[in-house]
């Protein structure tokens, strides 16, 4: 096992934990780590998983050629199997009978503070994209162990400041959302979006707020209200054009679909899922409609049924909804509007499992004339480099640009696309930074941003009129 360079204890912590919560890292790291690990094993089913991985991990290293981080860095600690092995070695040594025997027979492995430090760094160099699992002959899900490692570390005070501050605000803050947008600001934003839509379409589409007994309760990544107004306008335009305007609502009790617990903590994951569901309960909604966000969609889609069991609400991604409307003829997209070359980035959280792969492509191909695929794409796509919550950690911006997103940047360049569609708030942020960093000649936007340009709304201005008006405005 590679040892991390150390000098004095304090400088180690300064050097290794630049982006963790200050003052929370304990001195007795090893004891605390083992105590937290043992407690996690006591109350969860991870032991079964770890036993299986210990018994099967052949360390064949095929995962190394699948990992975009290792492909860019060439650093052995970025090999998924290597990272997994950091945790498996600790598990084998301290929590299995064979490990206990081996420790009596030899002193081959003991957990040290350096190894805990190494784990803290290694686990936050993984974007949890799960591409390595696709190329593992045994199907080991390395990102699951990365996440478990992060969970244990978080229990001893080692967690990313950016993620921790966000989830704390979401669960305990006044605003209950990760961007600290108060209700009054949300209402102002929705009013602004309504005005923008009216100006564009000539129709007043007032966003429904706190309406009871609606079919859909809508949760966007809350940052969209600050940074991606066109995505939210696109969502509204689709629902309006489909004639479902009286079937949806946004709740002011909780309007954030983000769940960073997915990246590092079972406790936060569960409680944020429950908070989201409690808003649907309050509004007596029937379904959860998630906006353009990969991890928000996955955390609701995969974990609402697990934490809420039979009380679970169906979770629908907005692209599933849009395709359904398109296929039923409820919306019409003008195919003469988008003339640029367009490509599509698959957000790992919704694509890797095969859940949302074809839907956006069917929508795009219905109105985009020059659509090109990245290679590879779909369930085999490369991560944008900001997955697993890394995009929120500004302190590792250089890592995200030079290593995490390097492969993706080259992929984008090869398509020659002028528009890069990325239906995920996190991917969009990372890709916008990548495009700037690598000086790629393309614009990053959401799928609904593009739909907004081409959608035809009965009684409203045509897409052609809107395009001409927009051109005049830009002049």
């Amino acid at each position: 096992m590679a040892k991390t360079a150390t000098s004095t204890e304090s400088s180690v912590k300064e050097n290794i934990y630049p982006y963790y919560l200050p003052g929370k890292i304990p001195d007795n790291l090893v004891e605390r780590f083992l105590e937290a690990f043992a407690t996690v094993l006591q109350f969860t089913d991870y032991r079964q998983l770890l036993d299986t991985y210990c018994a099967t991990s052949a360390k064949c290293n095929r995962c190394s050629v699948a990992c975009p981080v290792y492909l860019a860095s060439g650093d052995p600690r970025d090999i998924p199997c290597y990272r997994t092995n950091l945790l498996l070695e600790v598990y084998k040594r301290y929590f299995t009978i064979s490990g206990w025997f081996k420790s009596r027979l030899s002193s081959r492995f003991d957990l040290t503070e350096e190894i805990v430090n190494e784990m803290a760094v290694a686990f936050y160099r993984c974007t949890a994209c799960r591409r390595c699992t696709m190329e593992c002959p045994l199907g080991i899900e390395h990102s699951l162990l990365t996440r478990l490692g992060r969970y244990i570390l978080s229990l001893i005070g080692i967690s990313s400041k950016a993620l921790q501050v966000s989830v704390d605000e979401q669960l305990e803050g006044e605003t209950h959302n990760t961007s600290k947008i108060p209700k009054v600001a949300l209402l102002d934003t929705l009013e602004f979006l309504t005005e923008e839509l009216e100006e564009s379409f000539g129709i007043k589409m007032e966003y429904p707020v706190d309406q009871y007994d609606r079919e859909f309760v809508f949760f966007a990544a809350v940052s969209d209200y600050l940074m991606e107004p066109e995505t939210l306008m696109g969502n509204a335009a689709v629902i309006y054009a489909a004639g479902d305007w009286d079937k949806w609502t946004i709740g002011t009790g909780n309007y954030d679909g983000i769940n960073y617990g997915l990246f590092y903590s079972d406790w936060y994951l569960e409680n944020i899922v429950k908070q989201l569901v409690s808003e649907v309960d309050r509004l007596r909604g029937k379904k959860i409609l998630i906006g353009e966000c990969g991890h928000a969609s996955r955390s609701a889609h995969d974990f609402v049924p697990i934490f809420l069991k039979q009380d679970a609400y169906p979770v629908i991604n907005c692209m599933e909804y849009a395709l359904d409307c398109l296929e039923k003829g409820k919306i019409k997209l003008n195919s003469d509007i988008i003339t640029e070359r367009v490509t599509y980035h698959d957000p790992c959280n919704i694509a890797r499992s095969g859940w949302i792969v074809d839907q956006p492509r069917k929508i795009l191909k219905s109105f985009v004339k020059d659509f090109v695929e990245m290679e590879p794409h779909g369930i085999n796509n490369y991560c944008c480099g900001g997955g697993g919550g890394l995009v929120s950690i500004d302190e590792i911006h250089d890592f995200r640009m030079d290593i995490g997103g390097k492969v993706k940047a080259e992929q984008i360049r090869q398509t020659g696309a002028e528009i890069l569609i990325s239906p995920c708030a996190n991917c969009k942020k990372q890709l916008k930074e990548l495009v700037e960093h690598y000086e790629l000649p393309c614009k990053v936007m959401g799928l609904h941003d593009l739909i907004l340009k081409a959608i035809e709304i009965p009684g409203g201005k045509s897409p052609q009129e809107r395009k001409e008006e927009a051109a005049l405005y830009e002049m």
Binding site: A2, E35, A36, T39, V40, Q42, F43, T44, D45, Y46, Q48, L49, D51, T52, Y53, A55, T56, S57, A58, K59, C60, N61, R62, S64, V65, A66, Y70, G74, P76, I79, C81, Y82, N85, S98, E135, C136, P137, L138, G139, I140, E141, L144, S154, L155, S265, D266, W267, Y268, L269, E270, N271, F303, P305, I306, F307, K309, G354
Partner: protein
């Protein structure tokens, strides 16, 4: 020496084979219990067809021969064919199947068995070479990773030499005893090492299934570590 060989062929073979079978059962029973009994209700929506399809995709892994792994993957794939077919279907072992289990298996013929054995050994040496000389493989290989490769080569090499006196520089009985003992050591190692993937190879793919988190587990962990009501 003759008595040692007889001992290795008889009681020692039975004992080590039994250790392997019981050891593998020890691994597989909890898996089956977890999936089909304890979590049966919460696994209603698991996409078993995808899990099966993914597993089967590795039987003819054409799409998995990706850049950077072709030599390793090809060697690994052929090696697996060899280590499955040769020990089971070689004519000398057919007799053992009949003797111990009363099972009549088809023989692959001496000629094919010889070629397959040599190819398997060559593939195992390529894997050993990759592990030794490729930077990213060496970085994470430990003693057991090299030792197990050698342990798999040993019964193949000794078996080939024992059945080909012309190429064998050692006494026949020494080679035969090496073959028997190395194979039996391998039997014992299988359930206690990564070689257990011979039986658990498809259970990793249910790891998504394992992530059926227990509701309330996070609270219990927080309470155990920090006390009731204390912020995590």
């Amino acid at each position: 020496m003759e008595q040692w060989i007889e001992f290795a062929k008889g009681p020692l073979f039975t004992l080590t084979f039994l250790i392997m079978v019981l050891g593998l059962l020890r691994l597989i029973i909890p898996q089956v219990y977890l999936l089909f009994i304890r979590k049966r209700d919460v696994l209603r929506d698991v996409k078993w067809s995808k899990i099966i399809k993914d597993t089967l995709s590795w039987i003819i892994p054409i799409k998995h021969f990706i850049s950077g792994t072709r030599l390793f993957s090809l060697a690994s794939y052929i090696m697996h064919i060899g280590v499955i077919i040769v020990p089971i279907c070689i004519i000398d072992h057919i007799v053992l199947w009949e003797k111990f289990f009363n099972i009549n298996l088809p023989s692959i013929g001496q000629g094919l068995a010889d070629y397959l054995t040599l190819i398997t050994i060559a593939c195992l040496l390529i894997l050993l070479g990759c592990r030794t000389f490729k930077k990213h493989q060496r970085a994470m290989s430990g003693f057991m990773d090299y030792f197990l490769l050698i342990m798999v080569i040993l019964p193949f090499a000794s078996g080939y030499l024992a059945s080909h006196p012309n190429y064998n520089p050692f006494p026949w009985d020494v080679m035969m005893l090496t073959h028997l003992l190395s194979a039996e050591l391998l039997f014992v190692l299988i359930p206690f090492s990564k070689l257990a993937h011979i039986i658990l190879f498809n259970f990793d793919r249910t790891s998504g299934v394992h992530w059926q988190l227990r509701p309330g587990a996070g609270d219990k962990i927080a309470e155990a570590l920090f006390g009731k009501g204390v912020k995590i």
